[in-house]
């Protein structure tokens, strides 16, 4: 195994400038929407595509079921406003210190999907999806 690989625990989502508390997973999705731009000049039977729009989102799962976190998330959802969302490689105390890795990016995003799972006698899990609004840079 190459030593310079980024391990999952060191790839963390940052919301409003801080690494997400007690996170267990984060998933970054960057998508481009394309349309067929093929013409009669296109040869070989292959489509030619062109990008029409781009979108990105970050999904974060965590087990921070503190009252303050749940209240903050619901308030953020209700606000309909954007917040800074991104990701970076981390290390240090509690593994929350950003390293400004070459793949780190951030942008403004809206909390558009919030789910709280509360199974009896088990840890509460919180899942949030932030949909990017504008550029990722």
């Amino acid at each position: 195994m190459a030593l310079n690989k980024v391990m999952g625990q060191n790839f963390r989502a940052f919301i409003a400038g801080a690494a997400v508390n007690e996170a267990t997973n984060c998933q970054v999705t960057i998508q481009g929407n394309v349309e067929d731009a093929s013409t009669k000049d296109s040869v070989g039977g292959w489509n030619e595509e062109q990008m029409t729009s781009k979108q990105w989102s970050v999904q974060v799962d965590n087990i921070d079921a503190s009252l303050s976190n749940l209240r903050a998330l619901i308030t953020r959802f209700n606000s309909d406003s954007t917040t800074t969302v991104g990701w970076d490689q981390t290390s240090g105390s509690q593994n929350r210190v950003a390293q400004n890795a070459a793949f780190a990016r951030s942008g403004q995003a809206i909390l558009n999907d919030l789910s709280i799972a509360t199974p009896n006698r088990q840890t509460i899990t919180v899942s949030c999806q932030y949909q990017g609004s504008g550029a990722l840079s």
Binding site: G17, A18, T84, G86, D88, A98, N100, A104, L136
Partner: protein, 72 residues
């Protein structure tokens, strides 16, 4: 909280420092300069350092970060 742009401020343990830049690369260089200075002062980065990107209402790119060092 002290604030800087392209200059390296005096670093105080536990006191957050905000940096601003017009590019991610510039922001990273400012943070690295702070880290180097902090290392010389015997301090360690304990919080922050995440570069936030925002496009202003005027259409300009703005990159900022808050970083904190402490004596461990």
């Amino acid at each position: 909280m002290s604030k800087t742009k392209n200059d390296i401020p005096a670093i105080e343990a536990g006191k957050p420092i905000t940096i601003e830049a017009e590019s991610r690369q510039d922001a990273t260089e400012q943070l690295n300069a702070l880290r180097k200075q902090a290392e010389g002062d015997g301090l360690t980065q304990t919080e922050g350092g995440f570069i936030e990107y925002q496009r202003t209402a005027e259409g300009e790119d703005k990159f900022s970060a808050v970083i904190t060092f402490n004596k461990l």
